[in-house]
């Protein structure tokens, strides 16, 4: 249990995906302008990360690894994720319209989100078992949500500042992201101490 908690909180705080590992920067910069879309996007990411891990981990462990096909990992994972996202979208649309309404618009663009493919690949390279992989994916997703929500708050403030001409827009947003990211450096080392 303690190991799982360490994995979870490391993924949320220390190895925060967009801010420390640079995974999922595109949605982090692109969809963080408004709080509600930031929350919707992150919820969809958490959902897809968990689904993708639940699908890719058994495939790797039971199909690819025993048959010496581990080198096909990249191709298989991206196809599984793409197909899964399509499938989930169709199912949600038909049977759970309320959830589809909340997450649906964000689902297709998650296929090409590097955080999702990244978390499934990292679960394999870190040699996590199935439960640890799921916990790590949950942590990665929650960490993504935390970063998105915090940054959405920062960006509403950014709208009102008078930045130098050439820094307007993307450059000043990146500088703000660097400050948010710097604050997350403070978490390194915290997690091990938390569960002594």
């Amino acid at each position: 249990m303690k190991e799982l908690m360490i994995i979870l909180f490391s993924a949320i705080l220390v190895n925060n995906y967009p801010l420390s590992k640079f995974l999922g920067i595109c949605p982090f910069l692109g969809v963080s302008k408004k709080l509600d879309s930031a929350v919707g996007m992150s919820a969809a990411v958490i959902f897809v990360m968990l689904m993708a891990t639940a699908a890719t981990w058994p495939i790797y462990d039971m199909l690819l690894e025993p048959n010496g096909l581990a080198y096909l990992q990249t191709i298989v994972f991206i196809l599984v994720i793409a197909a899964l996202v399509q499938l989930v979208e169709t199912i949600l649309k038909k049977y759970v319209p309320a959830l589809y309404k909340a997450l649906g618009v964000y689902l297709p663009l998650i296929t090409t989100n590097c955080a999702v493919l990244g978390v499934t690949v990292l679960n394999i390279t870190e040699n996590y078992n199935f439960v640890e992989s799921m916990v790590n994916s949950l942590g990665a997703g929650l960490g993504f949500m935390l970063a998105m929500v915090l940054f959405a708050g920062v960006r509403t403030r950014l709208e009102n500042i008078d930045a130098p001409k050439y820094f307007q827009g993307l450059p000043i947003t990146l500088l703000a992201a660097s400050l948010v990211s710097a604050s997350f450096i403070g978490f390194s080392g915290v997690v091990d101490g938390l569960f002594m």
Binding site: L19, L23, L109, L117, Y166, L175
Partner: protein
């Protein structure tokens, strides 16, 4: 739409630099530029994939049915990435370890899918390969430049040779990546006299693969288009 070969090649290096003007492939740009050599390695690996994916997709464009083109592109790209991954692992194991997860993640690099969709699916194989080479060179040069700046400031060295005695460690870690990237984009805005600034509202909707990933739909539903 006939353009001469040289302008296709240089287009990606300066005018439509994929990182600093089109703002694509931000994740590997920020993550792998902790040193000049890593940035260079990432750039070369991505360029190799880009040239061959553009070439193959251009050759296959009459065979691939329009409705399933994106999955087809992804299979082609993922296959090439696997080849590159194996080559790097065999011949440059240090680079393989340094790039880590970002090597397989070349698959989801928007530059590659973007050029396949925007250029290779409409142009001849030779032009597509040249476009891939130009874009790849633009990507590589930018990564190399960022890597050099961050290595010089962050660990006080160039190509591992120590130059500065008091490095500023923050440039070597995550926040430094954002700072250097932000300043470079601002610099490009300044040099182009704000011509690139039309790109100032960065959002997925401006991304050339927006039609692929459905972001344009998102923007419309949010009433932003």
């Amino acid at each position: 739409m006939k353009k001469n070969k040289l302008s296709i090649l240089t287009n990606g290096i300066i005018k439509e630099n994929p990182v600093l003007v089109l703002v694509l492939g931000t994740c590997p740009t920020l993550a792998t530029t902790t040193s000049a050599i890593n940035g260079l390695g990432m750039g070369v690996a991505a360029t190799a994939v880009l040239v061959f994916s553009n070439l193959l997709i251009s050759l296959l464009k009459s065979v691939i049915p329009d409705k399933v083109r994106i999955p087809c592109y992804i299979v082609v790209i993922a296959g090439l990435v696997t080849v590159v991954q194996m080559l790097v692992q065999a011949y440059a194991i240090d680079l393989y370890n340094a790039l880590g997860v970002f090597l397989p993640l070349i698959v989801v690099n928007c530059i590659i899918l973007g050029r396949a969709e925007m250029f290779a699916s409409k142009n001849s194989p030779l032009d597509s390969a040249l476009d891939g080479l130009g874009m790849g060179m633009g990507f590589t040069l930018t990564l190399f430049m960022m890597g050099s700046i961050r290595e010089l400031l962050g660990s006080g060295s160039i190509f591992g040779v120590s130059v500065l005695s008091t490095p500023i460690a923050i440039f070597g870690v995550a926040p430094g990546g954002f700072i250097v990237f932000g300043c470079l984009v601002a610099l490009v805005n300044k040099i182009t006299e704000g011509k690139a600034i039309k790109k100032k509202e960065f959002s997925c909707a401006d991304c050339p693969v927006a039609s692929v990933c459905g972001q344009s739909k998102l923007a419309c539903e949010k009433g932003e288009c």
